[in-house]
Symmetry: C2
């Protein structure tokens, strides 16, 4: 008999995620059906979207009370009724916050790729940055790209890809250390510390000619400030709105959205689950950039399944630098 | 010696346009340079964008104090140093609010097209509706299209084009008479009277499955209400924001913009001056629809140059049904 220890949803958060929003239990797993695999979960991907799934229906139905927290993650196949995933192979998928998971499949992790890489640059995090820039932002050489959440999982990769595409890149992040990291280590051209400087003023300082492309991970006032300083034909990648996920009542929207008319701007929301068919292309291109030293991937790893609620909370307090993971 | 009587900008409006924002004078016109034409202005096109030009730099520089009010219009060539525009021919262009204008050219008005048609369905008004739907909205047969400012110049044509493209069309307008006109005469499927019914409630009533395409002429709370009820992959045509042009301070933006992420929505602003190369295609297609009785064009005509300020003011109080014009 196989059991799994799980972190479950106890109460729906209305504002900041609290550790008391979570429960835990141990359950027996059912026998595998044809096509299924049993996975020993080794890493979890801690993503802001989990906060949305806990609270309300979004692009996926909300998590039920008492159900395991839905989450991307990776691990090793320990039992298999699916020839594509033999025992001993490693897979990436949606196991949830638990020690073992019955999955109907996943994405094989190739030899030479670590779990940490599989869940960051080669996972949905890297794919999100890649698709957002390639399909929506389309920065041209010499254009100015602004990336918020610049020191986070998606933002840190997005800014580097924009640099590789030939753009001038300005980050927005929440501490001097984060700004120093994205400029000194990742090669961003400049960075605005939004806790130390008004973002609109920071944009005037760092982007005096305006913004061509904005990779938005935070929404709220930062989105509004950028919309006030866009150039003609600007492209706004609506990827996330982490500043808004913990507010009980909806905050005012961006008054400067009206500026999208005279500036002929495009804004486009996207959900990475629609673009999983691009994973192969993205992995090939980003793998080459990694090998050439053009792209760096940094992870922020907490230890143990029980640290997952804290890791999620940290996304909203800004404690992480790089992609947040939990080693189960 | 040729003179022109002009309506000029006296003071910049900060809120509702006042008749005292305008002055008038009579000026001598200079002798024609090579390539120029002298036009007896017969009709003016009264457009919401003029309110923006009076107040601040937008996609064009603001009008100077004491300068003629910038405006589209049409008239007859009475003197010509340009072979493309012989004396007696009719042209459409940007003469401004005056009785005579020296122009460097314009668009010839074909035989059989009236001034009123040239300035509505065949002018920038019709082209705006056409390009917004064809290039951004792209409604598919059976999809639900919402059009605000539905009884206005652009909106009334946009809704009819969406019907021709096979969509279900719901208007938003400001009186029972306007709603009756767009439903009974223009063939819209339904209409929300925003002065009588909360728009969000009206959308739940008329679009229970949500909105695929929104042609936005008004911005503000109507835009917010639609963003709260969009379907996956919705397209929002950011054409105008007439509800916001007369506010001294910027109103809050649409809080529901955040919904563009899970719904994978596109929002796109555009300025019709970028798309004048489409005028021939649009005129051919809309001319055929007119001839086939599929498209109706209605104008709201005020008499005399001096009525132009009132005509502009009426756009914001909602007095017009159809495209607003002044017969000079």
């Amino acid at each position: 008999m196989t059991t799994s220890r799980r972190i479950t949803l106890a109460t729906r958060p209305t504002e900041q995620v609290a550790l008391t929003d979570f429960g835990s239990d141990e359950v027996e797993l059912p026998a595998l059906q044809k096509g299924e695999i049993l996975v020993d979960v080794e890493y979890l991907s801690i993503d802001p979207t989990i906060r949305g799934w806990m609270a309300y229906d979004t692009y996926l139905p909300k998590i039920g009370i008492g159900e395991v927290i839905r989450s991307a993650g990776a691990g090793r196949v320990v039992e298999s009724r699916n020839k594509a995933f033999p025992v001993g192979s490693r897979v990436f998928g949606m196991p949830g916050w638990q020690t073992r998971a019955v999955m109907s499949g996943g994405v094989p992790i190739p030899e030479g790729v670590s779990y940490e890489q599989a869940l960051s640059v080669f996972g949905v995090t890297g794919l999100t940055a890649y698709v957002g820039l390639k399909d929506i932002g389309k920065p041209q050489p010499g254009e100015t790209v602004v990336v918020s959440g610049a020191a986070g999982g998606v933002g840190s990769i997005a800014g580097q890809i924009a640099k590789i595409m030939g753009a001038r890149v300005v980050g927005v992040a929440g501490s001097p250390e984060k700004c120093a990291w994205v400029v000194d280590e990742l090669g961003f051209d400049d960075c605005i510390d939004y806790r130390a400087e008004d973002v609109a003023a920071g944009l005037r300082r760092t982007c005096p000619e305006g913004v061509d492309v904005y990779f938005d991970n935070v929404g709220g006032e930062t989105l509004n400030a950028v919309l006030g300083q866009i150039k003609d034909h600007a492209r706004i990648i609506l990827c996330g709105a982490i500043s808004q996920y913990n507010t009980g009542a909806p905050a005012p929207g961006p008054a400067n959205l009206i500026n999208a008319i005279p500036r002929r701007a495009l804004l486009k929301g996207f959900i990475i689950l629609d673009h999983m068919d691009r994973a192969g292309e993205a992995a090939a291109e980003m793998g080459r950039w990694l090998a050439e030293g053009k792209l760096q991937s940094r992870t922020h790893v907490l230890e143990g399944l029980d640290s997952a609620p804290l890791a999620l909370q940290e996304l909203f307090t800004g404690a992480n630098v790089g992609k947040s993971l939990v080693r189960v």
